[in-house]
């Protein structure tokens, strides 16, 4: 195990070196004054963060850090580490997640409400000591298989894994372009710490869309004639559009990494065809770090990373021993099942997930499989809902012809599913809350994580919310959400009325709320135009909400308005179902004071 305090990429603290012109990060903005954040600038930025932290609290302290940009993240992270602090990385920025960390006494840092940001002026940084056995970061698991769990990583653990990757796949001055969040272990290591420790540049921002990737690759290559490495995940790689001229950037990418979930084989081929280089998938978890890798076109089996020892027991459960586990000397069982063949292994899937419903132990895996085999069902995931006495909720992906579009179709489908399950499971343990989706909901890591799950069942706790069943982002300013009108929606007045409907004003409220959640568009609605509600929207009905935002600095509304030269946002919304258009119009928003969208 690498426990040496001066060796290894992280413990060598390369950010302290005297090499002021070295490129730490690449400015993705083509119009930036200089193409780089140099090491000199990075050190000054670290100093500026430290000044802000010093003004807040004496070290050592605990910080919860979340930022949009990798560069900003790197500055804040090193600033805290060098002060002797521990950094906690929340898995998402939902208020409940952050409040739970407040309760642990961690102060907020970065791009979160109430987060501390650096002092305006660059400062000389202070270097401390990174003790190998000190906790560097605390991460959270995705929560896809239960409550998110906290995992502490020491500098020695991070150092060992970074050293292994640097030896296996050295970056050698290539640019790292990340499409994943650095709040999770894979993005933290591959997107920020690897380039930082291997003295290779990383893009200052996360590369969210394929159009951006195309543009950045072309821009990078024209500027430097150097190669790049893409740090990606299945959702992004699966959705690479054929319509972009990828041949124009052929040869710029030297490597593609994918992690978070297994990449479907056709997606691996699709990505290779368009981007010109095979995808190296990384298998691991927040708990274990990297375990193995594969290039699917060559071999579907996984090759353990150097220094990773694997074995399987008679139940096919995977056991591991690696230098970057909490205890590097003992074998630790994992939740996945495998078949070991020679030095490599096949992944069979997760071990059984067990839950107690109404005092009875049941296998959730058995439910998932039983549902998955029913006609029209592509895949299912069942989970106990803590707020509903542990009753099961089921997320079911359906073939499009099986998707219910109104109350009676939904009810018939649920009864058919329950009837089909009845011979195998007791009535009391059958799922009660059903979420039918056409596309498996996943976060940027490719997981059905806690944030996704919470959105899928949020309407149970909020009688004013629509039921969210997934969304597609068509760029930074447009989104398509699939929603259902809950039968128990508070706005659907009186069950006695002959025709309960969703009022138009509620649709507008939903559009505004969705713009906030999905497009991060925070604005005050001050006007509206072309509002129409041609068709009644009924309880149980499934609708697509399409949002398109355009930013306009010279917009003039029909009304005379003193602010008509201020920046306005036009938010176009449309609610459509199989029956037709239920609502459409344009809401005119002004950003809340002090916030300006680029």
């Amino acid at each position: 195990m690498t426990n040496d305090t001066t060796h290894g990429p992280l413990l060598a603290t390369p950010w302290r070196e005297r090499d002021p012109a070295r490129a730490v990060a690449w400015q993705t903005d083509a119009y930036a004054e200089t193409p780089w954040h140099t090491l000199a600038a990075f050190q000054a930025d670290i100093g500026a963060w430290q000044a802000a932290l010093d003004a807040h609290t004496e070290p050592p302290g605990d910080w919860m850090l979340s930022t949009h940009d990798p560069y900003r993240f790197g500055c804040a992270l090193i600033a805290a580490w060098e002060r002797g602090d521990r950094v906690i990385l929340p898995a998402d920025t939902r208020p409940a997640t952050l409040e739970a960390l407040d309760a642990l006494g961690a102060a907020r840092l970065g791009d979160i409400p109430g987060g501390l940001t650096p002092s305006a002026s660059p400062r000389t940084p202070r270097w401390g000591t990174l003790e190998a056995e000190r906790i560097a970061v605390s991460l959270y698991t995705s929560g896809s298989t239960g409550e998110p769990q906290r995992l502490d990583k020491t500098f020695a653990q991070l150092n060992a894994e970074l050293g292994m990757h640097a030896a296996l796949w050295p970056l050698e001055a290539r640019l790292t372009l990340s499409q994943v969040s650095h709040q999770h272990i894979y993005g933290l290591l591959f997107g920020v710490l690897r380039p930082l420790c291997e003295r290779s540049p990383f893009a200052s921002e996360v590369c969210r869309y394929p159009e951006t990737l195309h543009q950045w690759l072309a821009h990078w290559h024209a500027q430097t004639q150097r190669e790049a490495v893409l740090v990606s995940a299945p959702p992004t790689l699966e959705r690479l559009p054929e319509t972009l001229d990828w041949s124009a950037v052929d040869g710029v990418l030297a490597r593609i990494h994918s992690s978070g979930a297994p990449l479907p084989r056709d997606a691996a081929e699709h990505a290779q065809r368009l981007l010109g280089v095979e995808v190296r998938e990384v298998y691991g978890s927040s708990e274990t770090g990297g375990i193995a890798w594969r290039i699917q076109q060559c071999d579907s089996k996984w090759t353990p990373f150097p220094d990773v020892e694997i074995s399987a027991d008679s139940e096919h459960q995977l056991w591991l021993r690696t230098p970057w586990l909490t205890d590097p000397t003992t074998w630790t069982p994992q939740a996945d099942r495998v078949v070991v063949e020679d030095t490599r292994f096949q992944l069979l899937g997760r071990s059984d997930r067990i839950a107690k419903v109404g005092g009875k132990r049941i296998s959730l895996t058995a439910f998932d499989h039983a549902l998955g085999e029913l006609p029209g069902v592509r895949r299912a995931h069942c989970m106990p809902l803590a707020r509903r006495d542990g009753r099961l909720g089921a997320i079911v992906e359906l073939a499009s012809e099986a998707v219910p579009h109104d109350h009676s179709a939904r009810r018939r489908l649920i009864q058919a599913l329950r009837t089909a399950l009845a011979p195998r499971f007791e009535n009391a343990v059958l799922p009660r809350y059903w979420r039918f989706v056409e596309t498996w909901p996943r976060d940027a890591q490719g997981k059905l994580g806690a944030a996704c799950l919470s959105r899928l069942f949020a309407d149970l706790d909020d009688p004013r919310a629509p039921r969210w069943l997934g969304e597609t982002l068509d760029g930074p300013q447009s989104a398509r959400l699939t929603l259902e009108v809950p039968e128990r929606l508070a706005y659907v007045e009186g069950h006695f009325a002959t025709q309960p409907v969703v009022p138009g004003v509620v649709m507008m409220r939903w559009a505004l709320h969705a713009a906030r959640e999905s497009l991060d568009l925070h604005g005050v609605c001050r006007d509206m135009t072309r509002i129409k509600f041609p068709l009644l929207l009924l309880p149980g009905e499934r609708v697509t909400l399409t949002l398109d935002a355009t930013h306009d600095s010279s917009h003039e509304t029909a009304h005379d308005d003193a602010h008509n030269d201020a920046m306005t946002i036009q938010l176009r919304f449309t609610f459509t179902s199989q029956r037709g258009t239920h609502g459409t119009g344009t809401l005119i928003l002004t950003p809340p004071e002090g916030v300006h969208h680029a």
Binding site: G358, R410, E426, N427, R432, Y433, P486, G540
Partner: protein, 87 residues
């Protein structure tokens, strides 16, 4: 024809058991409430029993034949409430 009390009980069932897919119109007064029909289960029976006690002051013995009879469908439930309500 559904009586006012039956309508009230439909809402009580939906709200108590947080049935998200069921509207009052979906509950047929003559259809079984448990297993087939509405598909309620033993945990629901306990919760419904508590709700009846709270709302109408009716005490039922859990897991008795008599209780099973009253819980057969909405009509039997309405008859029980009509006869024994104290609140």
């Amino acid at each position: 024809m559904t009586s006012e009390l039956e309508q009230e009980l439909k809402h009580l069932i939906i709200d108590t058991l947080e049935l998200e897919d069921v509207t009052p119109e979906d509950i047929d007064p003559d259809e079984p409430l448990f297993v087939e029909g509405l598909g309620l289960d033993s945990i629901d029976a306990l919760e419904l029993g508590l709700a009846l006690q709270k709302r109408y002051g009716i005490k039922l013995e859990a897991d008795s034949d008599e209780t099973r009879h009253h819980f057969r469908n909405l009509r039997t439930l309405a008859a029980l409430v009509e006869e024994r309500r104290t609140a």
